[in-house]
Structures are given as structure tokens and as C-alpha cells.
Amino acid sequence: MNEIEAILKNVLPANKRKKEITQDQEIHDLLPGKYIAENVFLIEKKYQLNSKKHANKITKFDMHPLLNRYTGVKETALQDLLFIDTETTGLTGGTGTYVFLIGVGYFSEAKFVIKQYFLTDVCNEKDLIEVFAQELNLNKIYVSFNGKSFDIPLLNTRSIFHKCNTEINCCGNIDLLHISRRIWKDKLNEFSLQNIEHHILKSNRNREKDIPGSAIPDAYFNYLINKNANEMKNVIQHNKLDILNLAVLLGKMNSILFSEDFSQANTFQIGRIYLQSGYIQKAVDIFKSILTTEPENLPVIRELSMIYKSRGEFSKAAALWEKAMGDDELYAHVELAKLEEHKNKNFTKALEFTEKAILSYNKTQLFDPEVLQKLRHRQQRILKKLELKKEYDSE
């Protein structure tokens, strides 16, 4: 131990590195594939569609227009989709996180093709990025799981970092994590791809062989030092399953939307997706259908009433607000007060609703002085209007 090491001993890791003595087993000894650039190994596999051989059957599907609208991508054919998943040396992001495996999948005629680009030494990451960019950057729409905030920005970071000329741009990005969170809200406790696989797709990985995502960075570091690719085989398998499942998951989402059977999903959230994507009448239909079975569903009442309000259908809106008022919904009091004050000019009623709103605020646990301040302000204003009206009436 040298002088500096001695001083630093408290802040250095407890153990020094030990090189394991194992037989070198490079990736090409274990998996079929070829080197397409220095230290970049390509593994390619084609799956027959509708095959019975695989637990996860890949089938062709059509894209529901709602998903296109919601994710902001143009009308899509199945061939335009590129399913993508990367494996990296860290989950924190930043310039010290490297990409060592880029896996992609796409439909090609009667087959689903998976290509996996594996980096056998970090010093050639630039080659990996360039090869990937050249081969697959053509007008594709990426389908990923959390790729919007992780995989795609990371690939861009690596591209800038290596001063590559090609940018990892894409025509659009369908992030299945975000959509899953909406469709199965409250139906799942955790939105990891594995959990969705288990509960929604009803397929299970071979858990013994599968490597958990959090263990992947260290596994790769070990491989760099020890040059034993056995564990990498599992990582590559993990990545491949992720990509297959992306395709299956997207198929499942589309089939739910086309079938309009939302029994296993969160119907309210699907209604909101329609609403946010601009299909207002469809959203109204969905909300109304929920109310037929659950007339007291307050969030639905609120959404629906606000649609009516924005469409100018005040009497329909007011009916819903009055319903919600029974449950002491603050917004319903406020909306009714607004309606009476500005639209119906019934200041006495407006005052009554405002005062009820104040009472309702005091009953809630909500602490937002601004809300209260606004209500008091409204109260004062209505009082003045009442005063004026009285004067006017007496004259």
C-alpha cells in the first residue's frame, strides 16, 4: 500500500479487486454471430410469426389510431416500428454511463427480426454507435420501454460524446411505459416490464436464468476484467426477451383498444387518453358508460362535467356539479358559484355557493391559502354586486 493509498484507506472500497482465474470464454465462443466492427459483435435471429415454438407468440397487428395520436407519431405501418432496448453500465445517466448492448427488433414480411449489437470492450463504443446509426436509422419509429427518458437520450449522449456525425434521431417514439401506466393504472402495483409480462401478458421468464436489470452493469464490468462471457449470454438473452415482449405488449394494447373490452384495464384512464388525444365524443361516451354502472364515480363526474362546460352545455354540467356537491367536492361549489354569478346573474345563489365552498374548504385537509383567498375575494365581489343590485332595484 503506498502513501496516498494509506491516507485514503477510509474512503476507498473495503476490498481490492481480485482477478478471478477463469478460462477465457469470449462471446463468439458462446453465441453465433459475427464481428461487424472492432469489438462489435452482431447476433441476429429471425422468428417465424405465429410460431408455436415460443412462449410469447409474435403476431402481426394493426396500430390503433388512438395510439398514434396519443404518442404524436404519424400513421404507422407495422414495418415502420423499431423495437429497441439498450443495456448500459449504469442507470444514472451522465457521460460516464456507457452503452454496451443495443438490441432492436422489427417486422420483416413473415418474420420478426432481432439484431443485437454487443460491445466487447468499452474503448470501441464509438464504433458501436456508428454501426448502429448507419444500419438502422431510416425513418423508424422507436418503440421502447422508458426509452423516452432513458435509452434515446443516452444514445444521443454517446453520439455527441464520440463526436459521431450521425445523430440518433427518430421520427417518433412510442414509450410503452407511459401508456402502460395509464391503461393499467391501479391494476398493477409496479410498472416494470417483467411485472407487466407476468400479470398482463401472462408469460413468465425462466427466472433462474434471467439476470435482474440492476445486476447488469456489474456483470458487464466483471466480463471486461475477466473476459468470461458466460454471464453476458444471460444479459443478451434478457435483452432479447425484452424486445420480444415489447412487440407482444404493443400487440396487446392494440387488441384491447380495438376490442373495446376494457374490463381488465382502467376504463377511466382510457377515456382520458381519448380526451387528451382529441377524441372528445369518444371520451364522453366512455365516461357516460362508466356512470351507468358507477353513478357516484367522482373523478369521472368531474372530467365529464368539465367537458360539458367547455362545450357550453351548462345545464348538463350543472346537473353533475349538483351531484358532486353532495359529496362536498370543492370544485363543484366553485363552478356553480361561477355559473350563477357570471351566467345566470343570480347573485344570491352565487353567494350561497361561494359560502358553501368556503365551508367545504375548511372541512378539507387542503392547505392552500391561495384557494381560500380567491374564494374570499369572490365572496366580497358578489356582496358588492348584490349591494349595487339592491340600490338599482330600490331606485
Binding site: V11, R17, G93, G94, G96, V122, N156, F221
Partner: protein, 827 residues
């Protein structure tokens, strides 16, 4: 207030011990540089800036020539314009220009960005995009700022944590980076500065990755070593601009020393109460006054006393961290508009924030550095009017030292800001961050760090599995985000979290935990007192509770030293002096409770804590045996004979019997003449004779051994007094916090010497160069210590010189003087 002249009443005048008047100074004006963008000049003239002050012109000229520049003119001398002009000039020529502005605090960042924004509105051809990037910036804004901000305002922490590790997101910014402006660089000293210097190393490394070669522009308060300090901080030559061409009204500087109320103990009247009465007087004369006080609590006290004294609430306001930002803005605004007469503030108003010029600034107690005293004084003064600046001294040693050396405040600032970017702990962390940002290639430099040292660190990181070498490059090899692991405000040598009511309020370094935050310790944090409820070693948590009692604690520790590497050993007058790497083994055995202000000892407590080892750098000096002998011969005994009590004779006999009439040191037996009975802990340190004369404290010694023991004791109390002096005065010259260095006295320090002496060492593991600097100042340090103790008005030692009498006995003051005299040339 008549004619802007303040009249102090007689009671105040009597205690004014220094009054300097600096005459009004006219502005030294220059034209804009001819090469400057014409439209830019026109736009400045439209805003009322017709000419530049001489220092602004000199700065602009230098920066336009791409010279790295540090501007160190007075507070309010228009330092900002020195960098604003060249940046705007460059922007007019190239709209892609980017500039980075670093400020030490968030509040200052806000203020400066607003000012800059005002300046760039309606620029002739191009309006640059400005943006603040800090913890409060929304995600939406961040995206825009990363992509397109020309002028980026941020702080070192954010640069370290958020920008550099994600530099690819800032690629456009770095490619076009032309200027790096670092405001108030004197703030970057000690540990914070040592970190910051490494952040600069990383910044330069990233900039060069994008082929940028920015000019550095620094501003600083005056320091005695500003050129060297700035050059060390950014590791490049800097051009210093210090001739101030800004105008200034007549300025009055006064030091007020509260009168002594207890001469024996050297206690003065409370500076806080006198601050209140002076502030009340000024209030009644209708002058606008800003009062500074160190702690948040003292601000609140002054606020409430002053409101009572003047019978007005609304015209007197407090200002400190903890107030809501909106309230603070309101106070700033109203103060600027003259709607508030007096504001009492912590250092929150020291830097930058625009509150306009005031009539008077009062500072309650020396704030810990001359630079910040001057900065605070600079808040007084507006054109054509007199400004009054008062320092109200407390009874602390350093305040009283300034009372005697007012020149330090008014002319030459003796302070040196010190940093050591190569401290192993700090360096290691930043090398991890640098590695994360970009792999190291063979022979790559990291600032001025020698390559062989860099290689050693990279090897260590590889050995511990944090780095990986392949193809002549060293890569970061961990899934973590290293910038998260270290705060720029802490040492990084391992730390404990300070918690109060479940809330984290700060951190304390692992190596200081035992003596600063042992169980029952009173711990001071930002001037507030807390008591340690629990020291949770396994979880590294110190649980605190607010503490309102009137005492503080001091750990009683025994320190042993081990020499690891002697770097320098030299003869000094009366002994030797040394500098080297040492291991300090601290054992905290207990603590004592002492009363604030009087330092009266209220009690003791025992502790059972494991020893702690720190490897750091130290400076130590010794007193040769010959000098010890000389000292003891001239003044062997204290002037005052101790009265050992009526039963002394019987007690002494009992002790001799117990010890079988044998000297317990050299083992010879009594022969005719009775041997002496010696107090192991000196008699005068006890309140009662009964306790002092307990059998355990007594021991039989022969005359010769007794003399040796007493001699050692004599030297020891003298040395302890000297250590007290050095502990208090040294931070003054090296701009450090009192806890940044530690000072011990010992009859046998055992670091390559057998002699008694004093050890001064960096408390930070690995050191940050403080003790090295003090080693170089050996004689200066002794001389300053001498002037303090020799000039002190107390009779036999007080907190303002050698320490409270209660601790060292009545002879310490003379002993210290005698010792120092032997260690210096005759002056």
C-alpha cells in the same frame, strides 16, 4: 441628522478607540476603448454610462486582449461592468458567444442576473438569452437554457453536480464558451476553494474537449495574496487590476470597544447591548443603518431590543436566511426606497444584493475575516454623502487584537486565502468525477497536478475496481454517479450527518466528530447553539437539540503524535521548528462546561470514546532544554505563594508515609530532610484546598525531582497559554475557520524531538496547506502573539490574551511573555 453628520453621545465617544477619516475621492474617468462595438457604446450612453472608471477601462482592455484578469477594487466600484462590457462586445460580434457566470450563493446569482438582464434589454442588434441554472430551475426552463442560453448564471455546486457530468447536453454551450466569470473569488478558500479549484480543472478539461479556450475573469475582495491565490485557483497566469477609479464620499471608520467591567477576568460589557444602544441613537438621528450580527439568534435579539428602545416596529426590520424569499425581497425593496430605517442582518446581506447605499453600517463583533468586514463596511456610502462604518468589538481575542491593530482594517489587508487542490481526499473525488466525464488518455494533464501523481491515483482507482484501463485509456468503471458522493462544502474524508428534529442541518467530518460532537457537547452551527443528544457511530448520525443554556463545552482530549514523514527541520531561535506529515491519535476523555463570555468552568463530564487517527500535515516547534532551564531559573515559582490550607502539614506527612518516604520518580529515600509533596494537578487549578489535597493528587518527590516537575509545569502552563494565543490568532492570517487547524502544547511532543513544544496541524485529513503556511510565518506568528499578550490590559491573563485565568493559573501571562521572548530575536 444635521448635514449628514452623525453625532455620537459622550458615552459612545468615550469608548471609540479608533476613528479614521478617508477623504472624498473623485472619479478617475476614461473613454470607452476605441475598438469597442460602436452601437454598444451608444446603448451604454443611453443608459447613462458615458465613461468608464480607470479600473473598468483597464479591465476591459486586458480582457479584450484575452488576458485572464482578476479585479480587486472596492465594494460598489462597478466591478460587474468590467466583465459585462467584453462579454457584450463579443456577443455583438458573434451571436453564438456563450459565457459562464459563477456565483458563490444563489441569492447573488439571482441579483446579478437581473442586473445583467436590465443591461441587455434593447441592445442594438442582438438580445442575448440569459438564464439561471440552479436547483430551483424548472425542468422546462432547463431544456431551453441548455440549448440556447448565451449567458449562463450558476453556482459551483451546480456546475459540479449537474453540468459537467452531463456535458454532452451542453455541447453547444461548451463549443462556444468564450468567458468564464467567477465572482467574489475570495469566498473560494480552504476546503470549499480546494474543491472549487478541482471543479475548474474539470471545467477546463471539458471545455478543451469541445475545443474551447475561454478567458477567465475574476473579481475579489482585497487579499494580501490575490495574484498568487487567483493563479492557484484557476492554475494560470492572471493579470491583477486593483487601482480603484470609482468616486467615493467621505468615509468615517470607527472601532468601538465596550468598556471593561471586570478587570480581573478581563470581561467587557456585551457588544450586543452596546450595538443596540448605538443603533437606537442612530435611529433617532434618522440615519439609515444596516446592522450586521453573526448568528440568527443575535439578529433576533438585537431586533427585539432595538424595537423596544425606539418604540417602533415597522421602521426596524430583521433579515436572515430562514425568512421567506418574498419577505426578503420586500425588505430589500423598502430599504432601498428608504421606507425602512434600520435593518439587522446576518451575513445574508454581505454579498452583492442591491439595497442601495446607507448612511451607517454597524458590525456587532468581528465577522471572522477582514475581507468580509470590508465588504460589510462597503454597504455604507452614497454619492456626495458621508458614510459611517462602525465595528463594535467583542471581548474575543481576535476582536481585541484588531482594536490594537486597526491598520489591518483600514489599509493593508494581511489575509491570505489558501487552498490545496491536491489534498488527497478532495483530489480523489474529483478524479472520479473527471473520469466519469471523460476517460483519461495516456499523458493527459489534470490541472497542474504532476503526471506521476495523477498516474498513482489512476492506478489506485483501478486497484479498487473503480477504473478500467484498455487501449491506453482509463475509463470510469462503476454504475454510480460520483458527483453525488461529495459536496463542495465538505472534506469528503467521511462525514456524519447533523440532525435536529428529523431535519438534516449539516455535516461534520468524521475526524472531528469526537471532539466537536461527543455526547452532551454544545455544538455551534451557523452561530446557533445545539446540544448533542446522541452520537450514532454505526449510522454516522449526530442527533442534536436546540440549546438555550448559557454555556458551551470543550472536549478534554489527549493527543499523541506519530511522525510519518519529516519534510523540513530547521533550527529556530531558542529551539527547532519542523514541518511534516504526521499521524494524530486523539482520545477524547471528557469535556468541561464553560460559561459564555466569562469562560467560567461550570463542571466536567466523562466520556468513553474510541481513539481516532488522522493522517495530516503539521508544523511544530520546540523549546530547547537550555531555554527551559533559563526560564525556570529566572522565574521558578509563581509570584503568589499558594495557601495549601491549615491541615497541609499532616496531609503531607500522610502522603510521605504512604509513599514509604521514597521519591516516586527517582526512587531514592529520605535522609534527614523531609521530601516534598507535589500536586500532580496544580493546586491553583482547584476551587477548594480539600479537593486539591486529595491523596490521589499528591505524590512524594525529592527536591531535585520536584524542581524538574515544577519546571515542566511552569513551562507547560506557559506553553498552554501560547497555544491558546496561536489557536486564536492563526486563523486571522490564513483566513481559516477556528476548527480548520488544531493547536496542542505538550511537555513532550515526541515528533523527532525530546523537547517540549507546540504542535499545529491541519484538522482536515491530508491537510490543505494551512500548517505549511503557518510554518513559513513562524516568527510573525510569535511576534503577533507577543504583541497581544504584552499589550493586554488584564492583570494576569484573560480570554483576550492567554486564556482565562481559571484554566492556567495566575502566572501564565508572564510565563507566555517570557517564553516568547526567548523564541524571538530581540526587537
Amino acid at each position: 441628522m444635521v448635514g449628514n453628520e452623525i453625532k455620537f453621545n459622550k458615552k459612545v465617544l468615550r469608548n471609540i478607540c479608533e476613528h479614521r477619516i478617508v477623504k472624498e475621492r473623485k472619479a478617475d474617468l476614461r473613454e470607452f476603448p476605441p475598438e469597442l462595438d460602436r452601437e454598444l457604446i451608444t446603448s451604454f450612453k443611453c443608459k447613462g454610462i458615458n465613461k468608464l472608471y480607470s479600473h473598468q477601462r483597464a479591465a476591459v482592455d486586458a480582457i479584450l486582449q484575452k488576458k485572464n484578469t482578476v479585479i480587486t477594487t472596492g465594494v460598489d466600484s462597478g466591478k460587474s461592468l468590467c466583465y459585462q462590457i467584453p462579454v457584450l462586445h463579443s456577443l455583438q460580434k458573434d451571436t453564438q458567444t456563450r459565457a459562464l457566470f459563477l456565483f458563490p450563493t444563489k441569492a447573488l446569482t439571482q441579483d446579478q442576473m437581473l442586473k445583467f438582464s436590465e443591461l441587455v434589454t434593447d441592445l442594438p442588434s442582438f438580445n442575448p438569452i440569459t438564464g439561471i441554472y440552479d436547483g430551483d430551475t424548472s425542468a422546462e426552463k432547463r431544456r431551453v437554457i441548455k440549448r440556447s442560453a448565451n449567458l449562463l448564471f450558476t453556482n459551483p455546486d451546480m456546475l459540479h453536480l449537474g453540468i459537467l457530468p452531463h456535458h454532452t447536453n451542453w455541447a453547444e454551450f461548451f463549443k462556444n464558451l468564450k468567458f468564464i466569470v467567477i465572482d467574489e473569488v475570495h469566498m473560494y478558500r480552504g476546503i470549499f476553494g480546494s474543491h472549487f479549484s478541482n471543479v475548474i480543472r474539470r471545467l477546463k478539461r471539458v471545455a478543451s474537449f469541445y475545443s474551447a479556450d475561454p478567458v477567465f475573469i475574476l473579481t475579489s475582495a482585497t487579499l494580501s495574496n490575490v495574484k498568487d491565490f487567483a493563479a492557484k485557483l484557476i492554475e494560470t497566469e492572471v493579470n491583477v487590476i486593483c487601482e480603484d477609479g470609482a468616486p467615493s464620499g467621505e468615509r468615517h471608520y470607527l472601532i468601538y470597544n465596550p468598556p471593561i467591567v471586570n478587570k480581573d477576568l478581563g470581561i467587557r460589557r456585551s457588544s450586543l447591548m452596546d450595538t443596540v444602544s448605538i443603533a437606537a441613537d442612530l435611529f433617532n438621528q434618522e440615519g439609515q443603518t444596516l446592522v450586521f450580527s453573526e448568528s440568527r439568534r443575535s439578529v433576533e435579539l438585537i431586533l427585539s431590543y432595538l424595537r423596544q428602545a425606539v418604540g417602533n416596529e415597522s421602521l426596524v426590520q430583521g433579515y436572515r436566511s430562514g425568512y421567506l424569499p418574498g419577505d426578503r425581497r420586500k425588505i430589500e425593496l423598502q430599504f432601498r426606497a428608504g421606507k425602512i430605517r434600520t435593518v439587522i442582518s446576518t451575513n445574508a446581506l454581505e454579498l452583492g444584493i442591491d439595497i442601495g447605499g446607507l448612511d451607517t453600517v454597524l458590525i456587532n463583533g468581528y465577522p471572522g475575516s477582514i475581507a468580509s468586514t470590508k465588504q460589510r463596511f462597503g454597504r455604507a456610502g452614497r454619492s456626495g454623502k458621508r458614510a459611517y462604518c462602525l465595528l463594535i468589538a467583542s471581548s474575543n481575542l481576535i476582536d481585541q487584537y484588531l482594536v490594537k491593530h486597526p491598520d489591518y482594517l483600514f489599509s493593508q489587508n494581511p489575509e491570505q486565502a489558501l487552498i490545496d487542490p491536491d489534498n488527497p481526499f478532495i483530489l480523489l473525488h474529483h478524479l472520479k468525477c473527471a473520469l466519469f466525464e471523460k476517460p483519461f488518455v495516456t499523458n493527459e494533464k489534470f490541472g497542474d497536478l504532476p503526471n506521476e501523481i495523477l498516474d498513482q491515483y489512476l492506478k489506485i482507482l483501478q486497484n479498487y475496481d473503480l477504473a478500467y484501463e484498455t487501449n491506453d485509456k482509463v475509463f470510469w468503471k462503476a454504475k454510480s454517479y460520483p458527483a453525488d458522493e461529495i459536496s463542495l462544502r465538505s472534506t469528503g474524508a467521511g462525514e456524519f450527518v447533523l440532525k435536529c428534529a428529523e431535519k438534516t442541518i449539516g455535516i461534520v467530518d468524521e475526524n472531528s466528530v469526537n471532539w466537536l460532537t461527543h455526547p452532551q457537547a454544545v455544538y455551534l452551527h451557523q452561530g446557533e447553539a445545539f446540544i448533542v443528544k446522541q452520537l450514532d457511530v454505526p449510522n454516522k448520525i449526530v442527533e442534536l437539540k436546540e440549546h438555550k443554556a448559557d454555556y458551551y463545552t470543550q472536549a478534554l482530549s489527549k493527543s499523541e503524535f506519530e511522525l510519518l514523514k519529516l519534510k523540513i527541520k530547521e533550527n529556530a531561535i531558542g529551539g527547532e521548528k519542523f514541518y511534516g506529515q504526521i499521524k494524530v491519535i486523539d482520545i477524547v476523555k471528557g469535556f468541561k462546561k464553560q460559561k459564555w463570555h466569562t469562560n467560567e468552568i461550570l463542571g466536567y463530564g466523562d466520556l468513553d470514546l474510541p481513539p481516532q487517527e488522522t493522517i495530516t500535515y503539521g508544523y511544530w516547534f520546540t523549546i530547547s532544554e537550555k531555554i527551559v532551564q533559563e526560564l525556570s531559573e529566572t522565574k521558578m515559582w509563581n509570584n503568589q505563594q499558594n495557601n495549601y490550607g491549615p491541615d497541609w502539614k499532616q496531609i503531607a506527612k500522610k502522603v510521605r508515609e504512604r509513599d514509604e518516604f521514597q521519591c516516586q520518580h527517582c526512587s531514592i529515600f529520605e535522609n534527614k530532610k523531609a521530601f516534598d509533596v507535589h500536586h500532580k494537578i496544580p493546586f491553583r487549578q482547584f476551587d477548594s484546598a480539600d479537593v486539591a489535597n486529595k491523596m490521589e493528587n499528591l505524590i512524594t518527590l525529592c527536591t531535585s525531582c520536584h524542581r524538574k516537575a515544577e519546571r515542566m509545569l511552569y513551562v507547560q502552563s506557559g506553553l498552554a497559554g501560547l497555544a491558546y494565543l496561536i489557536r486564536n490568532i492563526a486563523p486571522f492570517f490564513i483566513m481559516s475557520d477556528r476548527n480548520d487547524i488544531r493547536v496542542h502544547s505538550s511537555s513532550k511532543i515526541g515528533l523527532d524531538t525530546e523537547d517540549p513544544g507546540i504542535v499545529i496541524h491541519d484538522s482536515m485529513p491530508g491537510g490543505i496547506g494551512l500548517s505549511k503556511k503557518l510554518y513559513e510565518m513562524h516568527y510573525k506568528l510569535l511576534w503577533e502573539a507577543y504583541t497581544i499578550v504584552n499589550g493586554c490590559e488584564c492583570s494576569c491573563g484573560c480570554p483576550a490574551c492567554v486564556g482565562p485565568v481559571a484554566e492556567l493559573g495566575t502566572g501564565a501571562k508572564e510565563q507566555v511573555i517570557a517564553i516568547i521572548k526567548k523564541l524571538m530575536k530581540n526587537k
